[in-house]
Symmetry: D2
Subunit: 342 residues, 4 copies
């Protein structure tokens, strides 16, 4: 059994991790930390976990995380970078669900995240945990930077096109829509029910932190600079991301075949039949990305539709997938839940 610790168990990615880990056949949950809720039974805060998670939150200071095999950070940005070195040196694998290890360019990271990075050396070593691209590197990693939710949906959608070199790279558009849980479990006015329900709104058009992460990924696929416009929106649903991607083809190609071949054998990417419109609910609560590719009216514009559950393939599920890879388990172990529909 893999001994697992979770740092920061009170947010939505935290409780989703607990849901998945508590059902994972090879995992033993050892510690769940929370600065604010130390001592409280986890299931008192999250009654959905009653009878399934018996632990209490422990204070981060007193938790002996070095006794774990792997520690997940489901914390705000800037926490994992302070604690990862100690864990790594103790031989503990680190999977960070926040952004601390996602951007290689430290200056760029510091600009977007507004703080000084505490351990640039680990950033250089960390592996960006998008298994469909970096599976082999993840296998040997000590630190996995679990991708952001938007970046997962957008990168997987553009991946076959950019790798194959069939797109004009200077005018990509990613119009992305997220459920409100993407905003976290924070007491903030703008994500109140009465503010977010029956409402649709863009945000961060001037620049969102996921932009450099996506661009970095696409540029690695292309091995060339990429011009990307990324506009995120908040949509009145709890879970789900729908990325609508636009690019201009510079050569003719069988788009459907390109996508099917690129993702053949991938357990968690499903290329839908031609003409499909994947719905976010078709992946709700499951570790799955469904993708459809269109070429409206046979023109040179390609439209990709890519959906994930932001809390699963966009966060906790992908983290567990990375854990499975790290520990040489079949990648689908503990991730076989069928989406909940309706």
């Amino acid at each position: 059994m893999i001994k697992v610790g979770v740092v920061g168990g009170t947010g939505y990615t935290g409780v989703e991790l607990l849901r998945l880990l508590a059902q994972h056949p090879e995992v033993e949950l050892k510690a769940i930390t929370s600065r604010g809720e130390a001592g409280l039974p986890v299931a008192d805060m999250f009654p959905s976990l009653r009878r399934r998670v018996d632990l209490r939150f422990v204070d981060p200071q007193s938790a002996d995380l070095t006794a774990c095999d792997v520690v997940f950070f489901a914390t705000p940005n800037g926490i994992a970078m302070q604690q990862a070195v100690e864990l790594v040196e103790a031989g503990v694998k680190v999977i960070d669900l926040a952004a601390d290890f996602r951007i290689s360019d430290i200056a760029e990271w510091e600009k977007w995240y507004g703080m000084k990075h505490a351990c640039p050396e680990l950033v250089a070593e960390a592996v960006y945990g998008l298994p469909e691209v970096n599976r082999e590197a993840v296998r040997k990693a000590r630190v996995v930077a679990n991708p952001g939710c938007y970046p997962t949906a957008v990168q997987l959608g553009f991946l076959p096109l950019v790798e194959a070199g069939v797109l004009e790279l200077d005018g990509l558009v990613a119009d992305a829509k997220s459920g409100v849980s993407g905003g976290g479990r924070k007491a903030e006015t703008h994500i109140l029910f009465s503010e977010s329900a029956d409402n649709f709104q863009a945000y961060g058009v001037a620049g969102h932190r996921h932009l450099p992460e996506i661009r970095q990924g696409l540029e690695r696929f292309a091995n060339a600079p990429v011009g990307l416009t990324f506009v995120p929106h908040l949509t009145p649903m709890i879970r789900g991301i729908h990325a609508t991607l636009y690019g201009r083809l510079k050569k003719d190609v069988d788009l459907q075949a390109l996508f099917e071949e690129r993702f053949a054998g991938e357990p968690f990417v499903d290329v839908m039949p031609k003409g499909s419109h994947p719905s976010t609910r078709s992946v709700r609560s499951a570790n799955m990305c469904r993708i459809a590719v269109h070429r409206p009216q046979g023109g040179d514009v390609v439209v990709v539709l890519s959906v994930i559950d932001n809390l699963v393939k966009g966060a906790a599920g992908q983290a567990v997938q990375n854990m499975n890879i790290l520990f040489d388990l079949p990648e689908i172990t503990g991730l076989g839940q069928i989406p909940v529909m309706p």
Copy 2:
């Protein structure tokens, strides 16, 4: 492996059955029938089942259901009663998720359901599949009448009180609220998104078909007549039933202990700590009923809060639970999913 057939796989209880059965370790799905969709791959209609259910819908006429060990009817009322005899005579267990076998009094059934009953003799034999009450009888049944959604939430909530004889039986009130999926997957105007969203409304105050089913259950618990007012409401959520139950105590009793003792050891009934307010999301997508009991201001009125997912403990999950009992499997087999929250 249990060979399973599903009659009527295109409604919400049908697709929920498929979700649960496809994840059940002891089940082999043999046939899923649909009059209207014969030939269509099931996963084309329900993309959430892609890669998990490979069957096509088959026409009810051509399906060889007698080769199954058990057949679930996820059909409208009045279908199972026409086909059950043949199956039972062929040694196939029948679990009806509709109402055909729920009411012992045939005249009463015919009044509420507005049709002639096709096989009253099977009604007499059928077992009402509320395991917390009838577990032993289910074990030997040939036909299981799977309870309605409201009746499950209401009966479980009143059960300890009525069995213990501590309530005045002539003035019970069950104020119940259901998510819209309880209305089925039917093209009807009143359950359109734009009609049901951001709206709350009672219905059927003059009399709802679940009233006689609930009253029959309570009267069996009490072995006495029961006066019950039952008011169902539609609430703008997909899944979930919240029953708020009111009764007057005729003797003093430790309510919390009464409930905890009655449901001790029950895998799918969770008595919450004193003072709790169970939420429907705490059971979303899981086979679980969570109950809290209150005595406001220490008066003689008892208030019970009982929540289920109408499609799981209120339909497909309870049906699988009954199947597990019928086939001597541990009752929780295939029903271990943790509720999806948020």
Copy 3:
């Protein structure tokens, strides 16, 4: 023109007051205060008011509210009681949308609201602003205690029955469901979208502050003690209250006629035809209470369904209605908006 001030304009009742007052033909908005947002244009916080409200929030200290004809308090409980005396003495009418002047029994108020009352003498003088009961008293009031949202829906629903003396008064039940805006515009976790959406939950079963207010009202109607169980619930919609009321008849009566006669001529109470199920959306954004009365299966239990928009007839609309009465305007002035549906 009536010169109007609003104290506390940043909550939902505040912005709803502004919506109604800005459309009122006899009102001149003079000042809108906010401690936290002083200096900010009101329409920057609430873009729905762009081009319609040109004021900026002013600090409560610097606002000259004594120059107003009437001041609305859309503040948390405990604010109006500190400022009302000065205004009243300056000849300014006060309409408090919070609870400071609603409960006559000061000790009772202090118990439920957990604070010392600052001006008990004004409580004695204040008029409870339920126009359907107290219209004449409101006309001459200096301080109007605008009723709570639940109390409005519940009292109007019980009013004809209790006044007529046809109910057993010791076992009334009010099962009430509120949209989430009833919880206010506060940065609190439990009313986040991801917590409240797709969820249904009771709260405050042990005792809610609206219980003494409702009971006081019913006891005045009855001129006798009343035993009431009140259970509020949160339902995933923005606006609306649905109260389902239960009582036992002690004498036979034509319920439909009783309700129609009691509310004949009332501009803002609509008795629906026999057999109706009023929906909250049928009153959305309008100052209206729609009521239907049922007697299921002809028994002795009466069920009343009463719906309002909690922010309008349950708060800001009723406050404007009271203002119209205070200033001898036709009661419907500025309140003629047709409900927004769908």
Copy 4:
């Protein structure tokens, strides 16, 4: 008073028209037709109109619409074109909220709408009722083609840029999101609450009927061919359209000034301050289009955010605006409702 008839009053645009017309100070509602509901009081179907609309639906055959001054068609496509000639010849103004008169190219119309056009001659004469572009032409029209919902939001958003000739015209993208009421009040499975709630999905990527309408409009603004990719999506809210528009600048320009100048004086277009993200709720239930223009990271891509209420500025409100123009009323007459928020 303007004598008004409404053909097809049972859909969402129909009932919204009734809401606006019943509050319009210069309108007398003469007839509301419905084939299926003839004889039924309108307020029985739409309780929100109780006490405000006393008419009954009349059969289209027996309604004397030629006695009206103006007739609105809130019907499915293909109805107005059959009845308009007779009305126009009788001197009745016709405002069609469907698509019959929107596309000048009859062959194009017939291709997209799959039927033969019944009166091409009126198409040539009809005026496309986007007042911000065609105000003067509307004034003298006999037939007004009221724009579609998506086309209103998209055209208004692109208008200043395309008119000013600052965009590359061959690669425009309109990524549009609509509330579910845009799908109409039809008993269809895919717009059921349990299908549309908590879900996000594109549709019609291969080609949507609003594409030729938008392209026609943009090409008129540009007086040149336009290459447009239009992707509509369904978002789980009742009302609202959010169009996110992308184009590439071919010359430098002060975008904010360009928009403010183009829409200066427009009563129903609100250019938001620089950096804004308009929300659909900021226009809910009101005849208003709010627009913000962005240039992310100072690059050459311009992003326009344009929001309307699909049932108001996207349908019924714009139709009333056109009526006001036709009858020389101030354009805002009867359209002064402040958006309902929250």
